[in-house]
Symmetry: C2
Subunit: 336 residues, 2 copies
Amino acid sequence: MSLLSCFELGIVDRLRDNPGMSATELADAVGTKPDAVEQLLFLMVKEGFVAHDETSGGYALDALAHVEEADLKRALRYMNLIKVTALRQLFYLTESARTGTVVGLKELYGAGGTLYDAVADHQDLNDAWLPLMNTVTANADPWFFDRIEIPSGAQVLDLAGNTGLGAIHAYQYKKSPGLRVTTFDLPEKEAEALANFRAEGLADHLSFVGGNVFDSIPTGFDTVLIKHFLDMFDRADVLRILRGVHGSLNPGGQVHILVPVYPEDITRTDNYNVDFFPAFFIGCTMGQGGPQKLSVYQRWLEECGFTVTNAVTKDAAEIPPDVIPVQAVISATKNA
Amino acid sequence: MSLLSCFELGIVDRLRDNPGMSATELADAVGTKPDAVEQLLFLMVKEGFVAHDETSGGYALDALAHVEEADLKRALRYMNLIKVTALRQLFYLTESARTGTVVGLKELYGAGGTLYDAVADHQDLNDAWLPLMNTVTANADPWFFDRIEIPSGAQVLDLAGNTGLGAIHAYQYKKSPGLRVTTFDLPEKEAEALANFRAEGLADHLSFVGGNVFDSIPTGFDTVLIKHFLDMFDRADVLRILRGVHGSLNPGGQVHILVPVYPEDITRTDNYNVDFFPAFFIGCTMGQGGPQKLSVYQRWLEECGFTVTNAVTKDAAEIPPDVIPVQAVISATKNA
């Protein structure tokens, strides 16, 4: 928060525009006291983000001067997500784990459901969450579609496809004669999804079916996509979903899953999913869930009547160090 | 919070008593779901706190098995302090820096003042804060009194001495014929201070004067002690306090200060004061303040008419790594 506060107060932007400003000049510019500016900048100097000239008393960006704007924006989005959707909520982590509900959302927002419910009613939560989700999707989808095959003319179901972005991407990346992609999600998403399809000029190729994955999933598909979804649930519900998908697929049909995974060697230090997701899912978003190891998802798919044909974890070295989800793609074929 | 939650849920205690328990057994024992236990323990395994036997599925304490109980209790007190007095409050750090007030206390507790005011009305804040403050005092006072001299029979003032613990320690560590120690603090502390003096059988040697350091400090003292206090204020108020102390001392009198300090080389990694205190004082306790470097306190003392005679920072290597305040003692004589 010391770092984020230096951004929120505008200290970093002032130093970018005017290197060498003193604590007093910065305080005047951003509307606080010089003492507070000095205190907050101590840690920035310790970490090498900001430089301090002891003789002149002036501050200047140090490492922060060399961060590309796109990288900075993305990192700030992550910091803001954690601030708004997690920092206060995690105070209630233990109670959330005990009850299987997001106690922090209830205490802080009076919201009884999940974060995904609460973003509809609370602008601050939505503003912190949506830009990051869009960034994650924009970064992950090209990688995902590059690693899966969708047969020409296939009937595709995008499970829990929200308002249709996944269906649009699927059609754009995998276009073929007769290809049809159906978004399946709660009925209240239908109007916005159809509007999105029309806006992209894809209304003839994309459709929407309303329903709940735990009730019944529509049938007759060659391919089912499950993106950013399985990690939201405990084992029993993941198995229910996978069995439902099994029923929705034609014989020989395929499911392609995009999901963050823990490393097989849990002690690896280059994968931050373990540091972030357990507390985030249990205490901040769902009151349950969390990613698994790739091998666990493979085993669960086999238990549900699939044969895994491909399973690849993204190389952590390809992911900017501020980005938390290390994703995997898992493809599996419905057993005869 | 993932770590603290494993303690709060009782998972660590169960594993200490019964190494090898599975996630299901642990979940039954502590009243949550096996899925949540697994998720929360992933990070414990990554960090080497807990071991997981992949074959049996059993968990056992790893590094946590070798932590002395006293060390563990102290570290848990720190974690609980940060959870209760800082985690949610820091969401409002930027607003606190802008307003010079603890916005988090107001938003979360409806409390208009400082943390030191709020602990009187809010049991959870007090329960998190007081045991830690007592630990800090118990650890710091022997070191502090070992490094200062109080003349035989001196008249001593313990500035902002709260309910008298500092006066009691001063008498016990520095007893001499005629030694008299006066606690100076807000009038509402008097009754409890006097009761504490009586309980220790020291009512003949200790006394209490009610007042506010920013109004007028009683005069005629040979020695003034300022412990855990200067770091609560911005520069202007620290100077007001030091000038007031100057006025309260007899010619040639001495002030002895115990205060956390930042290292002279701010980039040193073995002093966590820089990581913790700016955000803690501005966002969680005072809406202002924070420690300074030892050299800054020395300079401020010289500005206020003192000659510094001794200034020692505690060796960070002597402090357990979970303990945040790296303290210094500074002694100075009132100039003629």
